[in-house]
Every structure is written in C-alpha cells, then in structure tokens.
C-alpha cells in the first residue's frame, strides 16, 4: 500500500514566468489586459485542482528490473510516487476547448502542467529532507524505462484507484505523473509534513 501526501494549494502555484514560457509567451512582455486574463485563469485553475501524491519507498530488490533506470547505480532504495491534480482540471480544459475558448484552454493546460511540476518539485524536496542524498528525479518514458511501466506502478505498486492507465502508458487524469528517486543512504528520517 502506498502512503498519501496532501499538499497545500501553495505547493501547486506555478511561477508565471515558467508556465507562460511553456505557453510560448514572455511574462515581462505581455500586456496588462492579458495579465488580468491569465491571472483569472490561474485562480480558476487553482480552485479546480485536487492535488494528491501517492508514494512508496522500497528496497531495490523488490522492484522489477525493467523499472529501474540504468543510471540508478549504487542506490539502496527507491521512492516511487504518483502526483495528480485530479480530473476536475481535465474537465475544465475540455470544457474550455468545447466552448471554443482555445486561448483559455491553452493557458490552463500550460498552467496545469507547470502546477504539477511545482508539486513534484515540492515533494522531491520533502523526500530529500527525509532520505538525504539521492539520484535525480526520473519518470518512465525516459531512458531505459518504458512509459508502459506506468501501468505496473499505478495498479500493482501504488494501487491507486483514482488513476487509469491506458495500454500506451498514458494516464488519466492527464495531469498525472509518476516519478522515482533512488537513495544512496536510506536514512528514513521522517519530517512531519511527509507523514
């Protein structure tokens, strides 16, 4: 069974510079009316998300070989975690698209991607406070780990019902990621805000 971390909304508030850059815009160059529109969308999106992180820290030997990134050498344990913003934000993006509000949908989509990244960074930080020195954060679909490993992670390892994994490895809700961090010296320190 996995453990669960419920973040504050503040943990999911992305830097505007970055998510606007993701959307192809430069924060410092956009005009004021656009800033107001972007901020409104920011706040609507922030209201919609239901962020949660499921995670489990295991000994390396308990994981299938094809799930272990090739650069995770000399690690003693791995934390596998799934972060999701929930389905409401997907619904919002779909609704905006259906209403022909393409700009809004595009901005919210970029916002949500960066919001998820912000959440992952925050959780990454909390894990490192707990476990000390570790590898870089790694996600299936990169390097030698196939994206389809998501199915195993979600269904078998973390046992997360709220997230559906397609055969392709793509996850629903869309704003969901799986990540892994390998630990060189598993100290198992337990900061209050993780457990």
């Amino acid at each position: 069974m996995s453990e669960v971390f419920y973040p504050d909304r503040l943990d999911c508030m992305p830097d505007k510079r970055i998510f606007l850059s993701r959307a192809g815009a430069r924060y410092g160059r956009i005009d004021e009316s656009l800033i107001h529109r972007v901020n409104e969308l920011f706040l609507v999106a922030l209201e919609k998300i239901e962020p949660v992180v499921f995670y489990s820290t295991l000994s390396l030997s308990l994981l299938p070989e094809q799930m272990i990134p090739s650069n995770f050498q000399n690690v003693t344990a791995i934390t596998v975690f799934l972060s999701t913003l929930g389905s409401s934000i997907d619904n919002l993006i779909s609704r905006l698209t259906e209403q022909q509000r393409t700009f809004d949908a595009f901005i919210v989509d970029s916002w949500a991607s960066e919001s998820l990244e912000k959440l992952n960074e925050r959780f990454d930080h909390l894990l490192r406070e707990r476990f000390g020195k570790g590898t870089m954060r790694f996600s299936p679909g990169y390097g030698n780990v196939d994206l389809r490993m998501n199915g195993y992670i979600v269904r078998e390892l973390l046992k997360v019902d709220q997230v559906k994994v397609l055969d392709s490895g793509v996850m629903i809700p869309r704003k969901t990621t799986t990540c892994m961090i390998g630990w060189f010296d598993e100290k198992r320190r337990v900061p209050e805000n993780v457990e």
Binding site: E32, N39, L43
Partner: protein, 772 residues
C-alpha cells in the same frame, strides 16, 4: 541602518513588507484607536507582528499609522503621544528577529491649505515631532503611507529629512483607479516630483485591490527613477456574519503581487484587509527574486498639483505676471489681492503656455507671506506650473516650500555662491533651473558667455544636478540699445552643440522698439533654428506664438497640444473660480431672465456639467471645491432676490460617525450640497449615534449623510441606521467615505455615494422620489 546599506539590500532581492494593522486588529475583535494597543495591550501587537515575521516579512512597520499628535488629540489621547510611538518601536524590535523595523507615519487627517485647514508649517511640525520620537527609538527607516495630498507628503518628507539625512525613507501616495489621487495629483506628477526629492523608495498603497492597482503601479514604474514599493488592499470590505471581511484571497493576492514584481517592484506588502496569511502565501509564492530592470521615461516635465507638462520639445513660459512698471498690479499684490494674478495665469494657459513666470518685481515691499499666499492661490485655482522669477532667496524658499509640484527656478547666475543657493532649493523642493550666462556683468561675446555656461555645468555636476533639469539663458539684450542679437544666436548654438538646453527672455530684445511683436517673432524663429529649447514670452502676441509650431515643424518636432477641459465658457468661469466674472454674468442674465430661471436652468445646469466633468475625470477635487465655492455666492444672491419663494431642495444633516475624526470629505460634500441648493447642517466628527438621533429630532432633516473613513468605524453606519429606524425617524440615510462601498451600504440598508458629486445627484433623486 544607513541608506546605502538599505539600497544595497533592495538591489539584491525583492523585500517583503508586512500586512495591515487596523483591519487585522479589528478582525481580531479590537475596537477604537488601535495605536493605543501599544500601551494598553502590547501583547496583541507582539502577536500580530510575530505572525508577520513568521509569514516571511522582511520589514515590520510600527503600529503608529495614526499616532501623530493631531490625530491622537482628536481622539483625546494626546498625552500618550510619546509613549505610544516609543512603545511601538520597542514592540516591533522585540519580535523582529533582526528584520527591519520602519516607523510608520501617515496623514494628519486634514489636508494642507488650500484644500484643508492646516498650514504647511503646521503639518511639517506634526510630522517632525512623530518622526523624531520614532528615530530616537531607533527605527531602521521611516515609511510615509496613504497620503492623498502631495503637499502633505512633501511636508512629511522634508520633516523626516531635516531630522536625518542618513535614514532610509519610503514615500507613498494613494490613488484611485484612474491613477489620480482624490486631490487630483496624477501618479506621474507624484513620480516626477519624488525623483527630485531626497527619498529612497516611492510607492503606492491602499484604496485599490491588486488587480485595480496594477495599471497605476505600471505608470509609476514608467516615470519613477527610484526603487518602488507597493501595498494594495485585499479588496473592498464586505459584511459577513456581522464582521467586516475582505474578498481577495491570499492566493489571488499572491498571484497579483508577482505581477508587481515583474513590473519592477522592489518591496511588496499588503494594506487594508491583508493579514499574515496574505503575506505568507505572497512570500512563499514569490520567493527570492532579484528586482526587475525597468524602462523609465527619460523626458522632463514641469508640474503643478494637477497639471503635468512635458517640456522636451519646447518650453513656453508666459511672462505676463510681471508687476514691474504696473502700478495697479503692484498695489494689488502688496494688498495680497491676487485676483489679477490668477486671471493672468488663466489667460496664459488659454494662450498655450506650459508654465507661468511669476515676477512680483517690488520684492523690497513684500514679505514671505506674499509669496506663500500667491502660491496657495495659484494652487487653489489649479494653475499651470510656476516659474519662480524671485530674486530674494528667502522669498524663493518660501514660495517653493508652499508650491505643490515641480516648478522652475528663474534664475541663477553662473556665479558659484548664487548658483549654489538655488541648487540647495532645487535639491530640497525639486524642479528645474534656469542659469544665466553671466556672473556680475554680461560678457560681450558668445564664447565668453559659453565659458560661463561650462563653469555652471561643472558646479551642477559636482552637486549631482542632472543637466536635463537645467536651461541656460544666453541672454537677450535690447536691439534698441545697439546690442548685436547674433551674439545670443551664437551662444544658443554653442549651448546646443554641448547637448544642453537653452531658454531666453524674448521680449527684452524689442524693448523700446515699435512693432515689437513682429521683431520678437522673427527673432524667436531664428533662435529655434539655432537650437533654442524654451522661451519666456508674451503669449498674447499671436504672431510670436504662431511661429513656434511652424519653426519646430521645420525641425520635425511638434508641441504637445493641450485640450480645454470644458467647451462651455460658463462652466469654465465656475471651475476657474472667477467669482466676480460669474456675478457679472449673472447680473447681465438678470436683464433677460428671472432669478429662478437663472438659478435652476443656468447655474444648476452648469454645476451639473461640472459634476459630469468630475465624474469623467476631466477635473479633480480642487476644481470641484473651487466650483462649489464660486457658485455659492451667485446662488445666495439669486435666492435673496427670490425672498420667500427661494428654492431649497431639501434639508440634510451631515456627521462623521463616532470614533472617526476625518471630516475633510464630509466638508467637501457639504460645500457641494449647498451649492446644489440644499440646506446643510454639519454636526461635526466623532458623533455618537444618540447625538445623531437627537439632532434628527431638532433639525428634522430629509436626509442624513454619514461619513466613515476607517474600516474600524464603518460598522457605526449600521448601528445608526438601526437606531434611527427603531426610533421611527423617517429620513433617507446616505453613507460615504473611504471604507464604505455599495455592497456594505446594501447590507446596512442605506444609500451609498462614492463622492460629493454622486451625493448631490443621489440627494436630488431621493427627494424627487419621495418615499423614505
């Protein structure tokens, strides 16, 4: 803390200010004057300030916003002045954990003359006294907040600087959504004056929530050369479960505060309605950021309180307020009758001048008060920026102190002692300067004059005066006395080649000659061709004025056009304060119409247009007050002719609610209502509900108007409404003031007026409708 150290900090990263005190204490159940908590319940202040530190604030403000002697006196706690201020610093220091503690100063609660009742010197002394206690108690800096009167802010800045030239100083004003303060000063006028004054940081706070403040702040960022700070409100207050709350969430606040940082804010914090949660989310969301670089407007401007004039293309200064040789004007000035000065000022504005030269000539017969009074009158009539053609340095000082805006000193000699005296005034009060290319005598040739220009440049640079703030006068001598005008042209050319500005006193050229206008015009065209940047001239000379745009257009330049605020000459008379001309016009109209028709169909209609101009932002509070005062004698005169049949639209009782000592707004409303035909009884400030009830029984008003400026006193409006209703007092209840809004009024069951003009319109509508 030294200023250099503070500025270094500002350069390294964006700093965070704390949030509100008054509204936060109110939310926590405290009532009354919250500065009293410093001595009666210091633990409450400690707790809030500790929460702000935990939220990530880098700068704590002392709980002294309303702790100047004038405000404490109004609350009956003047004796505690020193203890309240001193303890505030001790409390903040005790919890600051090494963060900065800034002494917080705000308005006296009254505008400075001419908008209010206190003099500049009184305001200055009040601020100096408070700043002195705060500085002695060892604050790291001073912040002056929520000022809506630029003159009052100037008094506060000078007071602090006269106590310490070494302490960091932040100067804030508060603006409406259109970027103007209620006194009509634009954010650009504020920014450009503060560029000159000895403050470290300029900013805006209060009145607006973040999304409304953003565009105002963007304008500040464009014009200010100083580091910037900003503290918006968390929205307008609303009543929830009997308590006032603010609708802007910490998240929304933080998202917008990031935009302020992106635009160039160096310090961000919160004003009314913000609390530790707002500050916490803001500090976490923004994190550690270096301040953004800004693109700042490099053009120069002159300004009065309400008028900003760009001067880079060509500066036209009207010369006609010159009492030399004008016996009648001299006598009037000596008697402090400035009516003709004002008329000349207004005419020159119409003629296209950007500034007016004020030369009283007979300085030996005058005193400082003459110059102070003249500046007050010019300000009261919202005149153009002033060129101070004043020789006596004490008089010049007095005039510049009283002046609101960025004026022009006319002039300094290129002699070091003479020039430095004027440089000192420029540094103290801001503005621009004309330097004559002469010491004791006028050099004979252009090269010698230019050498004096270069000598002055060296002195100005040594004293860190930017050269684009200075005009050099190449000197124009009468051709009638066989002077060669080519020397002036050559000097202009040399000044231009050196990348400097030049300005001349044009009319001197044709002194004693026939056909002066054509000579002046021809010479001015030659001067412009040689690179002249400005001239003091007779703007009544149409030919002279007309050649300016033509000569400039040959150089591909264009003068910035000024638009008249009103197309109606009758309205113009009223907003320019021309009482006598208005009365003359009324007397003339009486030959054709009856008094009632003039009163209701002409004067009242003109005032309606004035109201529309104000509502549309074409004119500002000073104009509105002046208009109401100007039209009142005409109404009174017409009413006296009507006798028993005079028109009184209704009876209105006005009061500022208990616990609130602000009454300038209420007085303005009273003036406007009277000018609109109402009988007004103003029963003062800090008035208990029971007293209002009693006066309602005495005066039997149709309407009761309540003013509540502070969030901590706005709840009184509901108490009064409930009391009057329970006692069967059948009146319309109208409320206004900075802390009121439509939503609150709806919740309290009263009518709401944003300003005096809305109040007038509403009162008329209510009494037409009948039902209360």
């Amino acid at each position: 803390m030294r200023r250099e150290e503070f500025l270094r900090m500002l350069n390294e990263r964006v700093l965070f200010l704390d949030g509100a005190y008054g509204t936060e204490f109110f939310k926590r159940g405290f009532k009354g004057l919250i500065e009293l908590l410093n001595i009666n319940d210091p633990g409450a202040v400690e707790r809030l300030q500790t929460e702000y530190i935990q939220a990530g604030a880098d700068i704590l403000l002392t709980n002294t916003f309303s702790a100047n002697r004038m405000k404490l006196k109004a609350h009956g706690v003047e004796d505690e002045f020193e203890r309240i201020n001193r303890r505030a610093v001790e409390i903040a220091r005790s919890v600051s954990k090494g963060r900065l503690v800034f002494g917080d100063i705000s308005s006296t609660g009254s505008f400075v003359q001419p908008l209010g009742e206190i003099s500049f010197d009184q305001a200055y002394e009040i601020f100096k006294e408070q700043a002195s206690v705060l500085i002695q108690a060892r604050v790291d800096g001073i912040i002056i907040e929520t000022m809506s009167d630029l003159k009052e802010l100037k008094a506060a800045v000078l007071a602090v600087r006269d106590l310490s030239s070494d302490l960091p100083l932040i100067a804030h004003m508060t603006f409406e959504e259109d970027g103007k303060s209620v006194t009509g000063t634009s954010v650009e006028i504020f920014a450009t004056l503060m560029n000159d004054l000895d403050v470290d940081v300029v900013g805006i706070n209060c009145s607006l929530e973040p999304k409304q403040m953003l565009s105002v702040f963007a304008r500040l960022a464009k014009y200010s050369k100083k580091p910037l700070s900003v503290e918006p409100n968390a929205g307008k207050p609303i009543l929830e479960n009997g308590k006032l709350s603010y609708k802007t969430s910490p998240e929304e606040f933080a998202v917008y505060m990031a935009d302020f940082v992106e635009i160039g804010a160096n310090i961000v914090g919160g004003c009314c309605g913000t609390g530790p949660d707002h500050i916490k989310v803001m500090t976490k969301y923004i994190g550690t950021k270096r301040p953004r670089k800004r693109e700042i407007v490099s053009t120069q401007h002159l300004s009065s309180r309400t008028i900003l004039k760009p001067i880079d293309t060509f500066l036209i200064i009207g010369e006609r307020i010159n009492a030399s040789g004008k016996k009648k004007l001299q006598t009037q000035i000596q008697a402090k009758d400035f009516s003709n000065v004002l008329t000349l000022a207004q005419e020159q504005e119409q003629e296209g001048c950007a500034a007016i030269d004020v030369n009283f000539g007979i300085e030996k017969l005058l005193s400082k008060e003459h110059f102070q009074d003249a500046m007050i009158q010019l300000d009261r009539h919202s005149c153009l920026p002033v060129s101070f053609d004043i020789q006596n340095i004490d008089f010049l000082d007095a005039a510049m102190k009283e002046y609101v805006g960025r004026g022009l000193i006319n002039s300094a000699l290129a002699r070091e002692d003479h020039l430095l005296q004027r440089v000192d005034l420029l540094k103290r009060y801001g503005g621009l300067l004309i330097v004559l290319a002469m010491e004791k005598d006028i050099p004979r040739n252009a090269e010698e004059r230019f050498q004096l220009v270069l000598k002055a440049v060296k002195i100005l640079e040594e004293h860190k005066i930017e050269l684009d703030r200075v005009y050099f006068d190449p000197l124009v001598l009468p051709i009638g006395a066989k002077n060669d005008y080519h020397i002036t042209l050559q000097t202009i050319n040399l000044i231009k080649q050196a990348g400097l500005r030049s300005s001349i006193g044009l009319s001197n050229l044709s002194f004693g000659m026939p056909n002066r206008e054509s000579i002046n015009a021809a010479f001015l065209a030659l001067c412009i061709e040689n690179g002249l940047s400005g001239a003091i001239l007779n703007s009544k000379e149409t030919l002279t004025m007309n050649i300016i745009p033509g000569a400039l257009s040959l150089q591909g330049k264009e003068l910035v056009k000024t638009e008249s605020t009103s197309q109606d000459p009758f309205v113009d008379l009223i907003i320019k304060g021309q009482k006598e001309k208005l009365m003359d016009t009324v007397r003339e109209l009486l030959k054709q119409h009856d008094p009632l028709y003039i009163s209701q169909q002409i004067l009242a209609e003109a005032m309606k247009k004035v109201g529309t101009l104000y509502a549309n932002g074409n004119i500002y509070l000073p104009h509105l007050i002046l208009a109401a005062e100007t039209v009142q004698p005409a109404f009174d005169y017409l009413n006296s002719l009507l006798g028993e049949s005079q028109v009184v639209l209704g009876r209105i009782l006005l009061a500022t609610v208990q616990g609130d000592i602000h009454d300038i707004g209420k007085k303005i409303v009273a003036t406007v209502l009277r000018s609109g035909g109402f009988e007004v009884y103003d029963i003062g400030k800090d008035v208990p509900a029971q007293k209002i009830l009693q006066e309602c029984r005495n005066y039997k008003p149709d309407i009761v108007g309540l003013s509540a400026m502070m969030t901590t006193t706005v709840g009184q409006v509901k108490e009064i409404a409930d009391l009057l209703k329970s006692q069967g007092i059948n009146v319309f209840l109208l409320a206004g003031g900075a802390s009121m809004n439509q939503q609150l009024a709806d919740q309290f069951g009263v009518f709401y007026a944003k300003d005096a003009v809305q109040a007038l319109q509403l009162c008329k509508t209510l009494l037409k409708g009948g039902a209360k």
